[in-house]
């Protein structure tokens, strides 16, 4: 400690000198803050880390509390999975895009579904009008899923599906397609998002109320732990919470609070924590403040490890590990001077890599304008490949550890996230906090403050409120063929005529019975899917039993 005493004396001397010179050479601003508006000091030194224990707080890679990463060799073993979220209009087109991406060196698939699919409506439902195929692929039945993965060996790829409320149905379809390829469920690798709580607060594609939704989720946990053991059964997502306007701290806190709620639900449903916890995965955002973002990922890992070990008494180290996917921040992209977004994405992707992500999606420069073109997607993927192969960031484990600044930020984010988690606990947990509107209100306040800072010029967004240029409307944007809705509807009509309707009826009837009992819903859903019951039909059965969620609105 005597070293710090000497340092403190030196610091005091140095600070006095700096303060004096400020009159002549003032700093750029009075207050410096991070991207999330946390204060930033002029200088960080070992004094800022006083009272911290290196082994306890930071430790070693691959070991509790995993601050430095979940694997001991990290990217020296292999790079993160480069996984670009993609899905276009029809299963046929998406299938083509997946094959293209695999040829380009992408190592995992990520399926984007259109909104009707995400909300459990068939393409010919009145509410689907205008939305079919717009933000992803339209899947109405197993027939579409068969086309989507045609020629893609499901035992060789890992597939991430961004699907939440009807996750059980899409997973069932995936299992059924694999079976037709001769691949048994135990060979399947991938992730379903399956995170309903953040849908209520940030993303909006909910169907059922919280309670039956949590049941569907724990049913999936239970089913997969036996039948599809390598599947990541949930991707607990902070990404959308951040997109909705939260701060970095809120992203960590609300995501982990959701995680706690899922673990509690699963334990309550009678599952053993070490049986399902290793299959939990997370999904975070990466914004522009490089150091804060890196610290965020490190803090999240440490926090989750403590939660799992201390709160839930998990014994397996695999249960303690927070493994996560990262996507660069969509809301940071500007419609103005869209090529600048390539640079933003590079910084954000670097943050994710320095933060130890397991997989990464880099956004395309034109996403503030429309769905990305093939060229833009390629640049985005190349950005990852440059970081991996040229930047050197992947050559050693957790290279920013020991930075006084990054370690201080990591500590602060963890502390503040704990405060939120305690607050949410006092409200009765994440589900209750959401029902109260607490989480929504916190996010919206942050979103509004951000907007006001941009409008006042307090926060500079290059090309948007500073360094603007006159520019022509961008050209060559991707357009979704508006006839997709009609062609999906025609496909549905043909399917309904062709399929064995008695088998469909029977499957839906047993699903209905199961929904009213305590039985696991996965087996009857798999049966219904195999009978070519449509997504809408299956969800309608569940809607009838469970009811629909009514949005809790806070402004």
């Amino acid at each position: 400690m005597s070293g710090n005493e000497k340092l403190k004396a030196e610091l005091a001397r140095w600070s006095a000198g700096v303060e004096k010179s400020l009159a002549k050479h003032p700093e750029r601003r009075e207050r410096f803050v991070t991207g999330s508006k946390a204060p930033v000091e002029r200088l960080y030194t070992p004094v800022d880390l006083e009272g911290r224990d290196h082994l306890e707080d930071i430790g070693l890679p691959g070991e509790y509390p995993f601050t430095r990463g979940v694997q001991s060799t990290m990217y020296r073993g292999r790079f993160w999975t480069m996984r670009q979220y993609a899905g276009f209009a029809t299963a046929e087109e998406s299938n083509k895009r997946y094959k293209y991406l695999l040829e380009q060196g992408q190592t995992g698939l990520s399926v984007a579904f259109d909104l009707p699919t995400q909300i459990g409506y068939d393409s010919d439902h009145p509410l689907s009008a205008g939305e079919v195929g717009k933000v992803g692929v339209a899947i109405d039945s197993l027939a579409d899923m068969e086309i989507l993965f045609d020629g893609i060996p499901l035992d060789k790829v890992s597939t991430s599906m961004t699907i939440n409320a009807p996750a059980a149905v899409l997973l069932a379809m995936y299992i059924a397609v694999a079976e037709k390829q001769g691949v048994t469920p135990d060979k399947l690798n991938g992730t379903i998002q399956n995170d309903i709580l953040k849908e209520y607060v940030a993303r909006g594609t909910y169907i059922f109320p919280p309670e039956p939704s949590m049941r569907l989720i724990t049913d999936i946990f239970a089913y997969c732990s036996k039948e599809v053991p390598a599947w990541n059964t949930i991707s607990i997502s902070g990404y959308h919470i951040r997109e909705a306007g939260s701060t970095a701290v809120q992203e960590v806190a609300f995501t982990l609070a959701d995680g706690i709620a899922y673990v509690e639900a699963a334990i309550k449903a009678g599952l053993d924590v070490d049986e399902f916890a290793p299959r939990l995965s997370f999904f975070f955002n990466a914004h522009n403040d490089l150091f804060e973002e890196v610290a965020k990922f490190r803090a999240a890992r440490r926090l989750w490890a403590k939660v799992m070990k201390e709160r839930f008494g998990a014994k397996s180290p695999k249960s303690w590990m927070l493994r996560f996917h990262t996507q660069t921040g969509g809301s940071t992209l500007t419609a103005q001077q869209p090529d600048n977004n390539v640079v933003r994405v590079a910084v954000q992707a670097l943050a994710a890599v320095l933060g130890g992500t397991q997989s990464l999606h880099t956004n395309s420069r034109d996403e503030a304008l429309a769905l990305p073109t093939e060229e833009s997607v390629r640049i985005a993927l190349r950005t990852q490949q440059i970081i991996a192969n040229e930047s050197g960031a992947a050559e050693t484990v957790d290279p920013l550890a020991g930075s006084y600044y990054v370690e201080s930020l990591t500590n602060r984010i963890e502390d503040e996230a704990w405060n939120y988690i305690r607050k949410i606990d006092s409200l009765g947990g994440a589900v209750k906090a959401i029902e109260h509107g607490f989480v929504q209100q916190e996010i919206q306040d942050a979103a509004y403050a951000y907007q006001m800072d941009v409008e006042s010029g307090e926060r500079v967004v290059v090309g948007l409120n500073k360094f603007q240029v006159k520019e022509a409307a961008p050209e060559g944007l991707l357009r979704v063929d508006p006839s997709v809705g009609a062609s999906q509807a025609a496909k549905l009509e043909a399917l309904r005529a062709k399929r064995d309707s008695a088998r469909v009826e029977a499957a839906l009837a047993s699903l209905k019975a199961a929904s009213k009992s305590d039985a696991n819903l996965m087996p009857p859903i798999v049966e219904a899917v195999k009978a070519y019951a449509t997504l809408g039909e299956i969800c309608d059965v569940l809607r009838a039993t469970f009811g629909e969620y009514q949005q809790k609105v806070t402004i």
Binding site: L115, P116, Q118, I119, Y121, P126, L127, S128, A129, G130, E131, K134, V135, E199, A202, R203, G204, T205, Y206, E243, A244, G245, S331, L333, T334, A335, Q336, A368, L369, A370, L371, Q444, A447, Y448, Q451, V454, E455, V461, L464, N465, A473, P474, L477, V480, P482, Q551, V553, I555
Partner: protein
């Protein structure tokens, strides 16, 4: 007489991204307007019915899913069917500039893309009211 401006902020379609809609709702409120917020997943029929019952001066819609060319014009069509000609209709969200012309021809008075300051929208409303 000083009349309070009433605005319906609506999310047509299925997309659940309401950050922008809520930020604008709050900004309009802070500009002294009364904002009726509809919540997510509104059909054009619901939006028009709410606009009529609430007698709003403005309908402000936000879409990020790409369904704007279908849903925005449905709203103005329904307004026309009901002979409502004094409501200002504006839109926002992720909408390619190439679509602005089409939407304007369908009676959407202005489109506010990503990055538009809320003050711009407030000012536009104040200067373009139809009654």
């Amino acid at each position: 007489m000083e009349r309070t401006i009433r605005v319906l902020v609506a999310k047509p379609g299925l997309d659940g991204h309401d950050r922008g809609a809520k930020v604008i709702a709050r900004a309009l409120r802070d500009a002294g307007m009364e904002v009726v917020y509809t919540g997510l997943r509104q059909t054009p029929e619901q939006i028009v019915q709410a606009a009529v019952q609430e007698d709003v001066d403005v309908i402000a819609m936000s879409i990020l899913s790409g369904a704007h060319n279908h849903l925005f014009p449905r709203v103005t069509e329904l307004l026309a069917e009901k002979k409502v000609d004094d409501v200002l209709v504006i839109g926002g969200g992720v909408i390619p500039e190439g679509d602005y012309e089409f939407l304007k021809s369908k009676g959407i008075a202005a489109i506010f893309g990503p990055g538009t300051p809320t003050a711009t929208t407030v000012e536009f409303i104040r200067t373009h009211l139809k009654r």
